[in-house]
């Protein structure tokens, strides 16, 4: 408490806040007590002033309501054309957000902050449009009446008797850079009203006139003044914090509001908001869904979701979690989030029940030591006047679009339990009737209890309690004297019957709990199984397409909703998938919504705050660092998606999918990097090869040619001829090198398409020998082709190239005049062709390396080529589905052989005519 130095965390938070503020546009609110005080007028006046300062200010949307003074002020200001939306035959003029963002002025005027947009706009509320403008760095001037402030909505409803539905979250008001109060004394306002200067909607004229009672106006004015004063106060506090003018540094407070599925929830949230405001504290609203609560009817669970949305609007962070035990979940959350105060409803269990079964509050009191508890009383039903009704109304009625899906509440088979209860009881009665007289009454009772256990196990609480009562009644009626009467002669039987009823009811309850726990456990297990199945499938998916297909399929199975995953293109624009999709794929997605979701990393679409008019829900797929894509899901039932435990499951799904996608993308990137490195390595060896092997002949050519050019008659004719021959030979050598390099490049690029045809092997060999005729002149060449060698199905030019390369190799690496053999052998599957020499052979261990690109046994040897010849051979032979190898012959020398598979049937020749 006597710590004089500012808390570093707090300072950091302030720096962050200032940074965000600097980037964000500034919001100025013209704030008034009621319609007609002249907010729009004041706003336009301010705009004119800015205009005269040459600031780029435009009017986004201003309603003049036909008032002349206002209309005159509009002159000379640039007005953005409104977006026209057809709504049930009438055309509505709405603010055109996209046009404003595109125009990007310094300041824009947008009237009526609390306005609700027509369906078809991006956001349901205008304040959300304005948030987006501010985010885009545009300053906004707007107008607001005090009654539209969310937290005052209640109070004003009570004061005026009129409740407005168009509300603005307090956070918007609080975060405004500037609030200018437009004040007009009530008398003057009434005068203006009487003069007809105040615009009133036609249809509600009477009701609204009621609103403009002097008493009301005074109260509203006071509220408006106080609200503005509070804001000034808050600014002052900020200032004092900034300048360390303070007596005591406040320990920052964190408030946790715990709500349940009851009418108290909304009041708890509002109370939490007020407490948080007064303490300037952060606040959280938590809803813990226990297995018991999961059994609640659907409307109640929807109600909770609505309250959580309300809390978000009021500026709270919301947490919906599912846990087996409410109190321990609350305590755990409190510890994690450093909660200092908990707001919770008073225990609903009273008296012995509370003693027996305990209450969350009691557990919190005993376990949460450092936390202050605020208990809020429940409203008594009988007290409920109009105020209570309106308070409950949010809970009952949905202000959010879309969340009004109803299930048939009575499940099929609901009555079946009761029918079974009757049947089992009848059976028990018959059995008991047979036993009657021979067995004690206690044994008969056991028979009935057995029946109750059976019903409880199969059909749950209701039918089994029903069976309990039925059984007791029948025992009383049939087996306890006097028979056929509900009266009991012996009082001890009364005890017996009561005990039976109690035991039966306890059994019912216990069994029902066991059943529901088993059901919950079953659900949980199923969810775990589903998750496991998906993560397993995702883990085995090798590429993005496969992951998307897996994800779409699993999402469809689990949530029953058709869905599609969209990805941005290289420019970050969301595009439709190229894949035609599967049965489970959704084929209608709004790209602009998906784009928004991608850019903002926020959920949008049906049942959310953003673009709620969209048919589907759009989820960002975030891997924690960035949004990799957008999941679009067309819900068959919103509850299946927005219930806490389902949402948790979906969140896990989304995370898993995003991670799987990130995984394959990283793998792909790594693969590409590796390929690039490989290519780089090749390029380097190519460069070094070329630099050596092309420069050597070039040196000879340039040298010889220059000698000839600069010749001054001193050279002998013989020398000239010698030089010319050198040029010719080296140029030939370079030509073959260049050809090899080009061939390899073409083979590598996959640009070569094999032109396979049927060839007699001798023709190919013949062509090669003709081509190499001159160079083979001094070599004895033997060709050994056994008769009956089948034709081969190859690209002859390519195979000739292989043979030429192999023969050239033999010429290059064997002594002059040593013989070369060409042999062929055929099996029924393949033809093997070998070229054997009697040279020095291949150094041991190099047999396979020879076929690698740019590999040479002796580097920098004058006689060598680029080291591509054999690599080209291998590429060609492999393209033909064959293989090539080199080995040493036992008698000395090397043999290179390749195999061409015979996997086609040779063509038949018709007999000659």
């Amino acid at each position: 408490m006597n710590n004089e130095r500012p808390d570093p965390d707090q300072l950091l938070a302030r720096v962050e806040r200032d940074k965000a503020k600097a980037k964000r546009g500034r919001l100025k609110i013209f704030f008034g007590a009621a319609a007609g005080v002249g907010k729009t007028y004041a706003m336009l006046l301010a705009a004119k002033e800015r205009r005269s300062e040459n600031i780029d200010i435009i009017v986004g949307l201003v309603e003049t309501h036909g008032r002349k003074e206002t209309a005159i002020l509009l002159e000379g200001l640039e007005v953005l054309p409104p977006k026209l939306i057809d709504y049930r035959g009438t055309t509505l003029r709405e603010f055109d957000l996209d046009a404003a963002l595109k125009r990007k002025p310094s300041i824009i005027l947008v009237d009526e902050l609390a306005h609700t947009n027509a369906l078809g706009c991006r956001h349901p509320k205008r304040w959300q449009d304005i948030e987006e403008l501010l985010d885009a760095g545009i300053d906004v001037y707007t107008a607001l009446n005090v009654q539209h402030l969310e937290s005052l909505n209640d109070d004003i409803g009570q004061i005026s008797g009129i409740r407005v539905w168009e509300t603005v979250p307090d956070t918007v008001f609080e975060e405004a850079t500037e609030v200018e109060l437009v004040d007009l004394p009530p008398d003057e306002l009434l005068n203006r009203l009487n003069e007809g200067k105040v615009y009133l909607p036609q249809q509600a004229q009477e009701a609204i006139k009621n609103f403009f009672r002097k008493g009301n106006l005074i109260a509203l004015r006071e509220l408006a003044l106080r609200q503005t004063a509070n804001r000034v106060d808050a600014q002052m506090l900020d200032y004092r914090e900034d300048h360390s003018i303070h007596e005591v540094w406040q320990v920052s407070e964190r408030i946790l509001v715990c709500i349940g599925p009851n009418a108290l929830a909304e009041r708890l949230v509002r109370a939490g908001k007020r407490l948080a405001n007064s303490l300037r504290a952060e606040w959280l609203v938590v809803y813990v869904e226990t297995p018991e609560l999961q059994r609640l009817p659907a409307e109640k669970r929807d109600g909770v979701l609505r309250i959580l949305r309300l809390a978000e609007q009021l500026g709270a962070e919301t947490v919906a979690s599912s846990a087996p035990d409410m109190s321990s979940a609350i305590i755990k959350l409190s510890r994690e989030r450093n909660i200092t105060k908990i707001v919770i409803g008073k225990p609903t269990r009273r008296g012995w029940k509370r003693l027996l079964l305990g209450s969350v509050v009691d557990v919190l009191i005993s376990d949460a030591h450092n936390i202050n508890l605020y208990l809020l009383g429940s409203p008594r039903p009988e007290r409920g006047g109009s105020v209570d009704k309106s308070e409950l109304s949010l809970y009952r009625k949905s202000p959010l679009p879309g969340l009004s899906v109803r299930l048939s509440t009575r499940k099929k088979g609901y009555y079946l339990g009761y029918i079974w209860a009757v049947a089992v009881t009848v059976a028990s009665t018959m059995l008991a009737y047979l036993m009657f007289g021979r067995f004690e009454l206690a044994n008969l009772i056991m028979v009935f209890l057995l029946g109750v256990v059976f019903i409880a196990m199969r059909f749950g609480r209701g039918p089994s309690i029903f069976a309990s009562f039925l059984g007791v009644a029948i025992i009383d009626l049939l087996f306890v004297k006097p028979f056929f009467s509900f009266s009991v002669a012996d009082t001890q039987y009364l005890v017996t019957l009561l005990a039976m009823l109690t035991v039966a009811m306890l059994i019912s309850n216990l069994m029902a709990n066991v059943r529901s726990q088993a059901k919950v456990a079953g659900h949980r297990e199923r969810r775990a199984t589903v998750l496991y199945a998906m993560s397993k499938d995702l883990a085995t998916s090798q590429n993005e397409d496969e992951i998307v297909r897996t994800a779409v399929r699993h999402l469809y199975t689990e949530f029953g909703s058709r869905n599609v995953i969209l990805f941005p293109d290289l420019n970050g624009r969301i595009v439709y998938p190229k894949d035609p999709g599967m049965r489970e794929s959704l084929h209608a997605a709004d790209l602009s919504v998906a784009q928004w979701v991608l850019d903002n990393n926020e959920i949008a679409g049906q049942g959310t705050h953003t673009l709620a008019g969209a048919e589907s829900i759009y989820f960002p797929l975030s891997n924690g660092e960035s949004v990799v894509g957008v999941l679009v899901l067309l819900p068959v039932n919103l509850r299946r998606i927005f219930l806490p435990e389902q949402q948790k499951l979906l969140d896990t799904f989304l995370r898993q999918i995003a991670q799987a996608i990130t995984r394959v993308r990283l793998a792909e990137q790594a693969r590409k990097t590796h390929l690039n490195m490989e290519a780089e390595r090749l390029r380097n060896s190519l460069l070094s090869s070329i630099s050596h092997d092309l420069r050597t002949p070039l040196a000879t050519i340039v040298g010889s040619a220059s000698t000839l050019v600069e010749e001054d008659g001193t050279l002998e004719a013989e020398d000239k001829l010698e030089l010319s021959r050198a040029i010719y030979n080296e140029a030939q050598r370079m030509s073959s090198l260049v050809n090899n390099i080009l061939d390899m490049a073409r083979l590598d690029a996959g640009a070569i398409e094999l032109n396979k045809q049927w060839y007699p092997l001798e023709e190919i060999i013949g062509a090669v020998l003709t081509r190499l005729q001159k160079r083979l002149a001094d070599r004895p060449v033997t060709v050994k082709l056994p008769p009956g060698i089948p034709m081969i199905y190859v690209d002859a030019v390519m195979i000739e190239q292989v043979l030429v390369n192999l023969l050239e190799n033999a010429l290059r690496y064997t002594p002059e005049g040593s013989p070369v053999e060409i042999m062929a052998e055929a099996s029924s599957f393949a033809v093997e062709i070998s070229i054997a020499d009697q040279g020095p052979g291949i150094p041991k261990g190099f047999e396979n390396k020879l076929f690698e690109k740019f590999y040479r046994v002796q580097r920098e040897a004058a006689q060598s080529g680029v080291g591509l010849g054999l690599a080209i051979c291998r590429a060609i032979i492999e393209a033909h589905g064959g293989s090539i190898q080199a080995q040493n012959r036992p008698a000395g020398g090397a043999v290179f052989s390749f195999i061409i598979p015979l996997d086609h049937t040779p063509p038949l020749m018709g007999p000659e005519e």
């Binding site: 049927w758 023709e763 190919i764 013949g766 082709l785 002859a796």
Partner: protein, 231 residues
């Protein structure tokens, strides 16, 4: 015919190669006119009345194949193609369009002169074929009137198709003939996709005429393009 020096038009855009051809051919008694574009080349071919055209396929203004087609509209003068492209299809296209022979760059002057000689001889009279209608090359002698084939003084019997194939080659001796052309001439237009027929028959003829079919002396293979009868 007076023995004036033969005229050659060289259509080639590369000045260095033009220089090499001009000097090389000039030394060997040819009169050379140059054109550096297809259009100019067509004009030269019309004006100079050359005995032969040497044409580069890669010209800046038009495709060499189109030059051949244009020239072929009025003249049968021999055309030899020079091509830097080594893909066979280019050569085949040019040959099918009416070119008589080809050389792939780089080439030596000797090779070029040999081709020119074949073409000139061919355009003057039927090659290696005297008045009696007998074709002679090496040890091979074919009497086209008697339909008699003799190798090393030994008569060889050919089937009708084998003989027809050989006679087409003899008619164009020394020239490269594409697979397409041979198929059309021997079997007819509907057989143009059955190039394996051609290879099998060629192989059979080689077996009968050549001493070693893998080192042919007469029936040479032009890889991927066609065949040539050596003269």
């Amino acid at each position: 015919m007076t023995q004036a020096s033969p005229v050659i038009v060289v259509i080639e855009d590369d000045p260095a190669i033009r220089l090499f051809l001009r000097t090389g051919l000039g030394v060997h008694g040819f009169k050379v006119f140059e054109a550096d574009s297809g259009r100019q080349g067509i004009i030269e071919a019309g004006v100079r009345k050359p005995d032969l055209i040497i044409l580069d396929l890669g010209l800046p203004d038009m495709d060499g194949v189109d030059v051949i087609k244009t020239v072929r509209q009025w003249s049968v003068m021999p055309i030899i193609i020079l091509s830097a492209r080594s893909t066979e299809q280019n050569k085949i296209d040019a040959l099918d369009a009416g070119a008589d022979d080809y050389l792939t760059k780089p080439f030596g002057l000797g090779e070029l002169l040999a081709r020119i000689r074949v073409e000139m001889r061919h355009s003057v009279s039927s090659p290696a074929q005297d008045q009696s209608g007998v074709f002679n090359t090496g040890a091979l002698k074919v009497d086209l009137l008697k339909r008699q084939v003799i190798v090393d003084d030994r008569e060889v019997h050919l089937t009708p198709i084998q003989y027809r194939l050989l006679s087409v080659l003899i008619k164009n001796a020394g020239k490269v003939l594409t697979h397409q052309y041979l198929l059309k001439e021997v079997w007819g237009p509907s057989y143009k996709d059955n190039s394996h027929y051609l290879r099998i028959y060629m192989s059979q003829i080689r077996q009968k005429l050549e001493t070693d079919p893998t080192q042919p002396q007469y029936l040479l293979t032009e890889s991927g393009v066609g065949y040539r009868l050596k003269v």
